[in-house]
Symmetry: C2
Subunit: 468 residues, 2 copies
Amino acid sequence: MKKNSAKYADLSHIMDPQSIAIVGASDNPEKIGHVIMQNHIDLGYPGKIYPVNINETGTIMGRKAYKSMLEIKESIDLAIIAVPAQAVPSVLADCGKAHVKGAVVVSGGFAEIGETKLQEELVNISKKYSIPVIGPNCLGVMDPRSKVNTLFLPSFKIDKPKIGGVSFAAQSGAVASSVFDMISSQGFGLARFFSYGNAAVVDESDILNYLMNDKDTKVIVLYIEGAKRGADFIEVARKVTKVKPVVVIKGGITDAGAAAAHSHTAALAGSHEAYDAIFRQFGFTIAHDISELLDFAKVLDKDSQVTGNRIAIITNGGGTGVLATDALYGNGLVSAKLSKESERQLKKTMPPIVNVRLPLDMAGDADEKRFSDALRTVEVDPNVDAIMAIALFQTPGADSKVANMLVNYAADGKKPLVVVSMGGSYTMKQTAIMGAGGVPVYDSPGVAAKALAAMINYSRYKKGVLNV
Amino acid sequence: MKKNSAKYADLSHIMDPQSIAIVGASDNPEKIGHVIMQNHIDLGYPGKIYPVNINETGTIMGRKAYKSMLEIKESIDLAIIAVPAQAVPSVLADCGKAHVKGAVVVSGGFAEIGETKLQEELVNISKKYSIPVIGPNCLGVMDPRSKVNTLFLPSFKIDKPKIGGVSFAAQSGAVASSVFDMISSQGFGLARFFSYGNAAVVDESDILNYLMNDKDTKVIVLYIEGAKRGADFIEVARKVTKVKPVVVIKGGITDAGAAAAHSHTAALAGSHEAYDAIFRQFGFTIAHDISELLDFAKVLDKDSQVTGNRIAIITNGGGTGVLATDALYGNGLVSAKLSKESERQLKKTMPPIVNVRLPLDMAGDADEKRFSDALRTVEVDPNVDAIMAIALFQTPGADSKVANMLVNYAADGKKPLVVVSMGGSYTMKQTAIMGAGGVPVYDSPGVAAKALAAMINYSRYKKGVLNV
């Protein structure tokens, strides 16, 4: 573990365990240990699950029950601990004696309510036995590939994520569960999920280091109130963005926010300016609102590598083209100028009333073919770096064929694409098709422009080009 | 009409007509005239409808057909004209001879494609007969009270609004139809809706003047690319915000955006700085993205009259309280300090682990009662001007009882309330309950804070208090 050996904790046995013990497992569905055990059964976790409960003999949820970790004769990778705070140290010590390779302590009742001694005890046991511990006071971890899932939330209240490339970490369980739910409902694919609570042992530096080296993680999304280990955090922060993008939102950037953060997780939020400087210097993508975390992640997920800022807007509504053009310039981007060849091509494929210049207003009757013709022309134009397509589904020509065509383009198109889709229930169905199909889709031109700028700025950082 | 008599056109016969003629009505469902006639039948328009089509004898959609306006012997308030552009002038002249009191020309094919002569002809006939004309080249008007509805969009693609206090006007049909759809799906109540296209006769100044005097309109929402009559626009702009709030988004605020606007509606976008100065001086609420139009409208709809900026944040998730606090200060607001009396009261009603300070983190198991107890305490605290409640519905305690309690509070609470609700499908159901129940609900703390600031700044303008 980090304090004794390597600087960053090894989280591989927590995120991809061959066997799990659930301490506090119970037949009582009101108990957190029951919910966590049910999670693993529901997901079809393929390894062995050992229910542990000091008060149980016989079986728990149909499986042989163990009174203590020490009763289990087989090797255990991960112990999930959901027992009252006072009992956690002795359970963790048993885990150490049983050579467990990692633990998640979901129980609350430690430093967050002033029980710092109890938390110190937990930390000391973790050090003694070299067990990396997530928590305490957290929702824990979720991994849709290994099917580990300690999130003890009512399952009908939270959407299920599909497998993908976005990893998310937050101390705050509230932020974490909301973002988890949004990731799932917006059709994102999830790689790893961490709600790490008090960060008594494993902290943001460990997690960032783990995610940097994780081949399934394409984009890292982070909510932090403060870094526990400044120097180690800076070291990994410097390295990680050379490998993959990190979207970050910092809580406590104002004095009052920092005071709230201190009261919340006892985090010392640190100087906003210092964090801001670190994030900017190391090419982090800074979000200023929770919604921006995913707005940025979904376009960074594409690894576009585009460093130019000339955007081709194509739209089936003129007014939105005007607003989108304004939004480009407000975000350091420009409206591309079509090549003569593109103009010639568009004159062939667009109806005569369409003015073949950017933003391209394809008129209110634009259908799948017209959208496709426009896309296929601008994607090969050397004057165009990326594309913003605005599809207004209230119009007669725009329907799920347009949505599916945009999904296909996003998979094999030559230039990065973002889509704007805004409206009511019919439109939301098309948005869902596109979101699930991997299209970065937004509900306003302003947010789409902001996301494009974030994408381009990260590519520039990675390639050493000066940012706009 | 304005050029001959009053400065601003009288739109009352267009928005609340006792009888309607639909020129271009047809049994063919592909025809715009058919769609518009069906709209009125579907809504149950209570007045008389006269279908007019030069090629029809007998009946159209089961009603007696007229070959021309001049054949109708009864008095007609509103003529809706959906015939080819070249035929519009003679139809409008017939309307004049028939003493029609207003017209909507949905047909395109005028100045927007360079047919300026044809548009001039339309303007001259309108002047000659003093008929206020909306359009040409527009979706027209919708009024859920009078049940006028010229919007010829596929009805399954667009949600239906309920009756309420928000009026919207845009030249752009694309912006108009998207916003119409969003207004409906977000549970807003609509007062009047205008998509006024080329603004050949009736323009933004006329519409603003009409909405200022319209008793059913509580908030005006405006998308403009440029005002046709500068001095008249300034005159009405100066007056309107003394009466009711106006949320505006200006298209063409950058040079490239202005060029796009010129190409779009031949609008001379004018200097951004000049418009910005007018809007600021006269207390308009400026939106910077389409989504902000409704974000601001839904809180301005409440007419809170609150000029103080001390906000009480109550939340069932600590991390979101931190981010919301940051967002307050980023928008010129502050986190309120509770009175001693409030602290005493909260110590009685909150569980011991809750720290009774703002932002108030009520813990993850907060239920309807705890939310209600907190609201009822802070609403009477003299140190609190307005409230932001963050309800994370992923948690065990938060459910539709919380959503319905917030609806009840919004109806009779003593302090203005905004709500933050963010997540997936279960959360969206709660958001829909609150939106339909008149709660200003947002999907991120940053947007909620921005909306509160807009509300307070408008109240300050109206009461002559210096803005933050």
